[in-house]
Amino acid sequence: MTKTASVAYQYSDFKLPPSTASKIEMARLVHEVEWIDHELTTTSVRSKAGIHKHVEPVFSEQLRDFLDENKVSLIELSGRDRDQLIKQLRLLKEKAPVIHMTFATTADSESLQQLIAWVRESIHPQAIVAVGMQPALVAGVYIRTPNRVHDLSLRSQLEGSHDVLVKSLEALRG
């Protein structure tokens, strides 16, 4: 289904593809849509002025994923619909819940995409993930949601078992 003119977009209906994971990627997506809108508007004005210069906008992979995921044909949208889309995307960028995830090692993109897919499936479909790295965590993940912290790292488990470890070492020491 292709979105045509006079379609009312709601940011809460958007589905984010796994390629759009972080706040920066979200901002990049909005910026790209804005830029394409600008290009399309310019082309339209020029065509009205009699200057026919065919411009075929080039979409990034990230934007293409987003448009495919939400079944939107950006080229076919009217200027008004594009404005509305941009407005809703800005709202989405502001309102999307951010989950900070800190790992002990560098997060490879494949693992990260699996995690994001799980987060969007299980926690929130529009969740944005901010990734960090802290080797002191040893292993596991340190998650920060808007109001809470979930320390699922090995360091936390070690700290929790500190007394047990001390007792074991003292027992070994005799």
């Binding site: 819940p97 989950i99 790992f103 090692t105 560098t106 997060a107 490879d108 494949e110 693992s111 990260l112 699996q114 995690l115 799980w118 987060v119 299980s122 926690i123 929130h124 969740a127 080797p135 002191a136 040893v138 292993a139 596991g140 993940v141 998650i143 949601t145 808007p146 109001n147 809470r148 979930h150 699922l152 090995l154 360091r155 070690l158 700290e159 500190h162 470890l165 001390v166 070492l169």
Partner: protein, 251 residues
């Protein structure tokens, strides 16, 4: 007892008593035959009775004779056995007495021979003992003299040696006491140092134990335990905390 005791005496018939011709005629032949039969039967019966009676008498007589004969034979045999026993005993006693007398004579002779031999041996042993005693006394006297001379010679040497040993022992004791004192001092120093080192090490270990373990785990797990291998465990833990995260985001 008589063979025909029950038979009636036969009465001789006289001519006056005998039947007359008329009687004979009167007694017909049939009657005579019957009488004859009757007489025969009677005679047979009497004979049988007498035989049975005779048999019984014979049995009784034979039994009595047997008993009397047995008694008589037994008495004779007993008397004969007694006689034989008496004679045999006398004979054996006489034989035994003769043999014992001979044995006594032989034993006495052997005892005399043995006694003489023992006496001779004892005399020989006594002589040898006397000779050995003399030799031993002589040897002991010689040994005493030799020992006395040797003892005198060694005593002087031992006295000198003893004096030297005393001096050496005094010197060694003094050195040992000094060494003991130094050893004790060193022991104390080493123990103090060891205690100090131990306390420092234990303190450092206690203070840095958690860091050491963390560091060890980091070193051990760091590069080999990438996010990809952690992913199942992370997702499992996130699943466990899923509801709390959902609640926080939808707040």
């Amino acid at each position: 007892m008589g063979l025909f005791s029950n038979s009636k005496p036969v009465q001789k018939r006289t001519s006056s008593d005998g039947p007359s011709q008329s009687d004979r005629n009167f007694i017909s032949k049939a009657i005579r035959k019957e009488l004859r039969e009757h007489a025969r039967e009677y005679l047979e019966k009497a004979l049988a009775d007498n035989v049975a009676h005779f048999k019984r008498d014979l049995h009784v007589t034979v039994d009595e004779i047997n008993t009397e004969l047995k008694d008589h034979v037994t008495k004779r045999v007993d008397a004969t056995i007694d006689d034989i026993n008496t004679e045999l005993r006398k004979h054996i006693t006489k034989q035994l007495d003769d043999q014992l007398t001979e044995y006594k004579k032989a034993l006495k002779g052997a005892q005399d021979v043995a006694l003489q031999s023992v006496i001779r041996s004892a005399q020989v042993v006594r002589e040898q003992h006397e000779r050995l005693s003399e030799t031993l006394q002589k040897d002991i006297a010689d040994q005493k003299l030799t020992f006395a001379e040797t003892f005198r010679a060694n005593k002087t040497k031992l006295d000198k040696l003893h004096e030297t040993q005393e001096a050496a022992l005094t010197s060694i004791s003094a050195t040992a006491a000094q060494l003991e004192e130094q050893h004790q001092h060193l022991d104390n120093l080493v123990e103090k140092n060891i205690d100090k080192q131990k306390a420092v090490l234990v303190k450092a270990f206690d203070e840095n134990m958690a860091s050491v373990v963390e560091h060890y785990l980091l070193e051990a797990l760091g590069e080999q335990y990438g996010l990809k291998s952690q992913l199942p465990a992370i997702i499992k833990q996130m699943e466990a905390n899923k509801q709390a995260m959902v609640d926080d985001i939808t707040l």
